[in-house]
C-alpha cells in the first residue's frame, strides 16, 4: 500500500513534476516540503504548433517549464522580431512569480509544446507557508540577472553609442 516503495506502479504526474522542479536552478535552494507543494500546485498544459503561450502587453502571471517542444520569443515592435528560441528544459518567467507584469514579449509554440505552468497566486501561497525561502529565491534571481549582465557587457560593442543606455540593469 505504500506507494513510494513499490515500483510496480506508474509514477503520478505529481511525482514527475517534482522531479522537474528539482532540476530548476531558481528552486535549487528550496526545502523538499516547499518543492512538494509547488509540484502539487502546478499544472501541465499543451500548446499546439503556432499557438500563443503568452502575448506581449498582456498580463501573464505564470512561470513555464518546457517539458517537450520548441517555442520562439518574439518582440512585436512594428514587425515581428524573433529574439530567441526556447526548447526542452527551459524555464521562463520566474520574475512573474514576484511581480505581476504585462509581458514585454510574445512566446509562440513552434512545435507542439508541453509545459509545466505555475501561477503567481499559487507560488505566493507557497511562499507564505515557507517564509524563510524568500531569501534563497532572491539570491537565485539576482544571481541570474547578474550573470546575464556579465554576458551582455562581454558582448558589448563599444562603437554603438545608443547601446550604452541599455546596460546597467544590475545597478537597480
Amino acid at each position: 500500500m505504500n506507494s513510494s516503495t513499490e515500483p510496480r506502479q506508474a509514477p503520478s504526474e505529481y511525482q514527475a513534476n517534482l522531479e522537474i522542479l528539482l532540476q530548476i536552478p531558481l528552486f535549487s535552494g528550496l526545502p523538499i516540503e516547499a518543492l512538494k507543494l509547488l509540484a502539487y500546485l502546478c499544472r501541465r498544459e499543451i500548446f499546439k504548433e503556432g499557438e500563443i503561450i503568452f502575448q506581449q502587453h498582456e498580463m501573464d502571471e505564470n512561470a513555464y517549464f518546457i517539458i517537450d517542444g520548441k517555442a520562439k520569443l518574439i518582440l512585436e515592435n512594428g514587425g515581428d522580431e524573433e529574439i530567441s528560441e526556447f526548447s526542452e528544459s527551459a524555464f521562463i518567467g520566474g520574475l512573474s512569480m514576484f511581480y505581476g507584469m504585462k509581458r514585454l514579449f510574445t512566446l509562440k509554440a513552434e512545435t507542439q509544446v508541453t509545459c509545466l505552468m505555475l501561477s503567481r497566486e499559487k507560488f505566493q501561497k507557497t511562499l507564505e507557508q515557507f517564509p524563510t525561502i524568500t531569501g534563497k529565491l532572491f539570491e537565485g534571481l539576482v544571481k541570474s540577472i547578474y550573470e546575464w549582465e556579465i554576458r551582455v557587457i562581454g558582448e558589448h560593442d563599444q562603437d554603438c553609442a545608443r547601446c550604452r543606455g541599455s546596460i546597467g540593469v544590475t545597478l537597480v
Binding site: 500500500m1 506507494s3 504526474e13 516540503e33 500546485l41 498544459e45 501561497k125 507564505e128
Partner: protein
C-alpha cells in the same frame, strides 16, 4: 443631537414608556406580596401553632404558598420586561452608532482599526444596555422593598428597627469612595481593551507580513504588553468591586448580632413576643436581597456610565459633511468643475497638494498623470469630497464642494477607486449597488426605477464582463423540476454543438462516451454514468449505499478502491500535513478543507496497515475518497490501468444490475436527456472541459455563444450568471473582473461627473482600449471626467492633460499642445519609448 453627545439617561428616557409603566405596576404588586409571607410567619407561630388550631395553620400556610408563587411569577415577568427594555435600547444604540460611524470622515478610519469598531459595537455597548433595562425597575423595586420591610420593622418595634438600620448610613458614606477607585480602574480597562483590540485587528490584517517576516515573536511581545496591562487593571478593578461587596456583607451580617442581644433581652423580660422576634429576624434577613441588588445596580450604573462615556468620547466627531441637504432638494449638477489654489495639508504640516488650479467645462475630460506620490489621486479625492481640502476652493457649478452634502454628490458623481471594493452578494447586487443607493435616498415616490436587464447587459458588454458572466451562468446547475423550456432548448444546443464543433473541440473536451474511461469525471460518475433520481444514489451518498457497496464487491472493485483511497489520503497528507487549511491547497485533492483533520488522524492511525487491518469505518472513509478521485484533476496519484479497466467493466455491470433491480433510479447519460447533476456548460458539451486554460475556454466560448444566440438563450444564461455569488470582498472574482464590475456599476448610474482613479490598471489591453474608446465616444460631452492614469498610451483622446509633480500641476493642455511644448509630458513619452527597448 448627535448620538455621541447624548447622556446615558437619554436611552432610559426614550425607552418604551408603556413598558416602563407596566414594569412599575408589576413591581408595586410584587413588593406588596413580599410582605405577606412575613406576616403569615408571625401568624403561623403565634396563632396557629401557639393556639394549636389546625384550620388556621392550613389557611395561613395557603396564603404563604400563594404569595410565594405570585412573587416568583412576578419576578419572571420583571426579568422579561427588563431584558426587553435593555435589548431594545441595545439595538437602538447599535444601529444609531453604526449609522454615525459610517458617516465619520475617512481620516478617522486611518487611525481607527476595524477591530476597534467591532469591539465597540459588539461588546462595549452591552453594559450600557444592561443599565437601561434596570434603570427604573431595579432601584424602584428595591427601594420600595426596603421601605416596606423597614416600615414593617418599625411597626413591630421602633427601637430594634433603629438599631438594626443604623449600619446603612455608614455603608452609604463609605462605598462611593471605593467606587471612585473602581471607576478609575474600569476606565483604564476600557482603554486597554481598546488598544488590545486595535492591536489584534492590526496583526490579523497584516498576517501576510507577519508570516513573510517570521515576526511571530515581535507580534507576541507587542500583544503581550497589552494583555499583561489588562491583567493588572482587571485585578485592581475586581478587587475594588469585590471589596465593596465584602464590606457590604460584613455590615449586613452584623445586624442579627444587635438583634439577638437586644431582642433576646427584651423577649426574656417578656416585653417582646417570640413570634415577633422571628418575624423581625426574617424581615431583617429579607432586607439583605434588596440592599444587595441596589448595590449591584449601583455598580452596574457606575460601570455602564464609565464605558458609555468613554465610548461616546471616542466617536465624538462630527461627520464633515451633512448627509442630507436641509430646506432644499439636492442639487442636480451639470458638472462644470473649477479648482482654485487648492491645497491639502495633513497632520505634521505635510502638503500633499499645493496651489492647484484647473477648470473643466461640463462634459470635458481630464487625464491626470505623474509619478506615484505626486498627488494625482489626492486631487481626485479632494474633488470627490473623500478628503476635506484645507485651502483654496473646489467648485462644481459654482457650489463649493466642502459645503455640499453627501447626497448632492452621491446623486451627481460616480467614483471608481484604485482598488474598488466588491461586497459579498451576487454580481447583480453589486452591479446595482450605486443605483440602489441613489434610489433608496430618493424614496419610492420619485418614480425612478432600477436599470432593466437589457441596460445591465449593455453595460457589462461595454466593460468587457459579458463573457465572464456568461461563463458563470454556464457553470450554474438547473434544478430537475424547473425551466423545462430552457432544458429543451439546451438539448438542442447540445445536438448542434456535437454536429458543428464536436470533432474540432475534441482535444479540449472529454465527451461522455460510454465506451471510454472519463479522466475528468470522478470514479463514482464513471461507474454510475448517469444522473441519480434518488438521493441514495447521489455522489456523496454512494459510499453509504449498501446496494452500491454490494455491487462494488461483485465488480471486484471494493478492495482496489479502498487501497486507492488510502493512497490518496497518504499522498495528500505528505504534501499538506503541516499547512493551514487554505482553500487553494485543496482544489487538487479529493479531500476538502473541512475533512482535512479527520483524514489526517485517519492516516496517522492506519500508517503501514494492511487492507484487512482496517475497520469497516476506516474502509468506508477511504472508499469515499476514491469515489471522488478524478485523475485529470487529482494528479497526486496515478490511476492504475487494472483499476481503470475494472471500473469500465463495472459501469456495464452496474447498468445491467440496476435496470433489473431498481429501474428508473438512474437516468443514464444520453444525448437526448438533460443531466441535472452537471452544469449547463457540461450539458451543452456533453462532457467536461479538459483544462481551464484561457485559450481553450475561449475556443469553447466562441462556439457556444454562437449556438446560444441561435436558440435565443444568451440573455437567459447571462441572467443566471448575474446571480453568481462573488464571495467576501469579491474574492471569487479576479482583480480584472472586480475592476470591470466597479466600472460597470458607475456606468450604470451614469452620473454627470465621473472620477476614475487608475480604474483600468488591472485590465488586459483589449478591455482597457474598449473602455477608453467608450469614454471618448459615449461619455465625452455627457459626463465630466477626471481620470488618474498610469499608462501614457490612453491619454491622447482627453480634452486636457494635467501633469503632476510633488503636489502641483506643472503642465496642463491638450496632448498636441504639451508635445509641441517639449516639456515633461514629451519627456515621459520619449523616455517611455527608449525605456521599452
Amino acid at each position: 443631537m448627535t448620538i455621541t453627545k447624548r447622556p446615558l439617561m437619554y436611552w432610559v428616557k426614550t425607552s418604551n414608556l408603556k413598558l416602563q409603566i407596566l414594569l412599575l405596576i408589576v413591581i408595586l404588586v410584587t413588593v406588596t406580596t413580599r410582605v405577606i409571607p412575613l406576616e403569615m410567619q408571625k401568624k403561623i407561630v403565634n396563632q396557629a401553632i401557639g393556639m394549636k388550631k389546625i384550620d388556621l395553620l392550613f389557611l395561613y400556610c395557603g396564603f404563604y404558598l400563594a404569595s410565594v408563587v405570585i412573587a416568583s411569577g412576578m419576578k419572571f415577568v420583571i426579568t422579561y420586561l427588563q431584558t426587553l427594555l435593555g435589548q431594545q435600547a441595545l439595538t437602538r444604540i447599535r444601529k444609531e452608532m453604526f449609522d454615525h460611524i459610517l458617516q465619520l470622515p475617512l481620516s478617522f478610519f486611518r487611525k481607527t482599526s476595524s477591530g476597534l469598531v467591532v469591539s465597540s459595537l459588539v461588546t462595549e455597548v452591552v453594559s450600557a444596555s444592561e443599565f437601561v433595562g434596570q434603570a427604573i425597575a431595579v432601584p424602584v423595586t428595591n427601594l420600595l422593598t426596603l421601605l416596606a420591610f423597614g416600615g414593617y420593622m418599625f411597626y413591630l418595634n421602633p427601637l430594634l428597627a433603629c438599631l438594626s438600620l443604623i449600619i446603612y448610613p455608614i455603608v452609604i458614606a463609605i462605598i462611593p469612595r471605593m467606587q471612585r477607585r473602581s471607576n478609575e480602574a474600569n476606565k483604564q480597562r476600557v482603554d486597554i481593551t481598546r488598544a488590545l483590540s486595535s492591536k489584534i485587528g492590526e496583526t490579523i490584517s497584516g498576517i501576510h507580513e507577519v508570516h513573510a517576516n517570521g515576526s511571530y515573536r515581535i507580534e507576541n511581545r507587542k500583544y503581550g504588553v497589552f494583555v499583561e496591562q489588562l491583567q493588572r487593571t482587571r485585578i485592581t478593578w475586581t478587587l475594588y468591586k469585590q471589596g465593596i461587596k465584602t464590606l457590604n456583607n460584613f455590615f449586613q451580617n452584623l445586624g442579627p448580632f444587635t438583634l439577638f442581644i437586644v431582642g433576646g433581652y427584651l423577649a426574656i423580660h417578656g416585653r417582646f413576643d417570640l413570634g415577633a422576634l422571628v418575624a423581625f429576624l426574617s424581615a431583617y434577613d429579607k432586607l439583605y436581597d434588596p440592599w444587595k441588588e441596589l448595590m449591584d445596580f449601583y455598580q452596574t450604573y457606575q460601570d455602564a456610565s464609565v464605558s458609555y462615556v468613554r465610548l461616546m468620547e471616542y466617536y465624538d466627531l462630527e461627520p464633515e459633511h451633512l448627509t442630507e441637504p436641509i430646506d432644499r432638494e439636492p442639487f442636480p449638477l451639470k458638472g462644470a468643475i473649477q479648482v482654485k489654489d487648492l491645497s491639502f495639508t495633513v497632520a505634521g504640516g505635510i502638503q500633499l497638494l499645493k496651489q492647484v488650479s484647473l477648470e473643466l467645462n461640463q462634459g470635458e475630460q481630464l487625464a491626470l498623470i505623474g509619478f506615484s506620490g505626486s498627488g494625482k489621486s489626492t486631487l481626485a479625492q479632494c474633488i470627490s469630497q473623500l478628503y476635506t481640502y484645507t485651502g483654496g476652493s473646489v467648485q462644481i457649478d459654482g457650489h463649493e464642494v466642502n459645503d455640499l452634502t453627501k447626497r448632492d454628490l452621491a446623486l451627481n458623481m460616480g467614483v471608481v477607486a484604485q482598488s474598488p471594493f466588491i461586497f459579498d452578494g451576487t454580481i447583480k447586487e453589486n452591479l446595482l449597488y450605486s443605483c440602489q443607493a441613489m434610489l433608496e435616498d430618493n424614496g419610492a415616490e420619485s418614480g425612478e426605477e432600477l436599470p432593466t436587464l437589457d441596460e445591465m447587459i449593455e453595460v457589462i458588454q461595454q466593460v468587457g464582463l459579458f463573457v465572464d458572466i456568461l461563463r458563470f451562468g454556464l457553470n450554474a446547475l438547473l434544478a430537475a423540476d424547473q425551466e423545462a423550456e430552457l432544458v429543451d432548448k439546451l438539448i438542442r444546443v447540445r445536438e448542434n454543438f456535437q454536429n458543428q464543433f464536436g470533432r474540432d473541440l475534441a482535444e479540449f473536451v472529454e465527451f461522455f462516451d460510454e465506451e471510454r474511461y472519463l479522466y475528468f469525471s470522478s470514479v463514482a460518475t464513471n461507474l454510475i454514468f448517469g444522473n441519480p433520481n434518488k438521493p441514495e444514489f447521489t455522489a456523496d451518498q454512494l459510499a453509504n449505499n449498501q446496494y452500491f457497496l454490494d455491487f462494488l464487491d461483485e465488480a471486484q472493485l471494493k478492495n482496489s478502491l479502498i487501497s486507492l483511497g488510502h493512497q490518496l489520503a497518504e499522498q495528500t497528507m505528505d504534501i499538506l500535513a503541516n499547512l493551514p487549511p487554505d482553500e487553494i491547497f485543496f482544489q487538487q485533492s479529493p479531500i476538502s478543507s473541512d475533512e482535512f483533520e479527520d483524514y489526517r488522524a485517519l492516516v496517522g492511525r492506519t500508517a503501514g496497515a494492511r487492507l484487512h487491518d482496517l475497520s469497516e469505518q476506516e474502509q468506508h472513509l477511504y472508499l469515499k475518497l476514491s469515489l471522488r478521485f478524478t485523475p485529470g484533476l487529482h494528479k497526486i496519484v496515478a490511476l492504475p490501468e487494472v483499476v481503470e479497466k475494472l471500473i469500465l467493466d463495472g459501469r456495464f455491470l452496474f447498468r445491467k444490475k440496476i435496470q433489473q433491480d431498481h429501474p428508473g433510479v438512474i437516468s443514464f447519460y444520453r444525448m437526448s436527456e438533460y443531466i441535472h447533476s452537471q452544469t449547463i456548460l457540461d450539458n451543452i458539451l456533453f462532457g467536461k472541459p479538459r483544462t481551464d486554460h484561457p485559450k481553450s475556454q475561449e475556443r469553447i466560448n466562441q462556439s457556444i455563444i454562437h449556438l446560444l444566440i441561435e436558440e435565443d438563450l444568451l440573455e437567459q444564461i447571462v441572467e443566471l450568471g448575474m446571480n453568481f455569488r462573488v464571495g467576501t470582498k469579491g474574492d471569487r472574482l479576479s482583480g480584472g473582473q472586480r475592476q470591470k464590475l466597479a466600472i460597470a456599476r458607475v456606468f450604470l448610474k451614469a452620473p454627470p461627473i465621473l472620477i476614475m482613479d487608475e480604474a483600468t490598471s488591472a485590465l488586459d489591453n483589449a478591455s482597457q482600449k474598449r473602455i477608453q474608446n467608450l469614454l471618448e465616444t459615449k461619455w465625452k460631452g455627457k459626463s465630466t471626467l477626471i481620470s488618474v492614469i498610469h499608462r501614457l498610451d490612453t491619454i491622447k483622446g482627453y480634452d486636457k492633460i494635467g501633469v503632476m509633480k510633488a503636489g502641483k500641476i506643472i503642465e496642463m493642455g491638450t496632448y498636441e499642445e504639451l508635445l509641441a511644448k517639449k516639456g515633461v509630458l514629451y519627456e515621459f513619452i520619449h523616455g517611455a519609448k527608449t525605456g521599452a527597448q
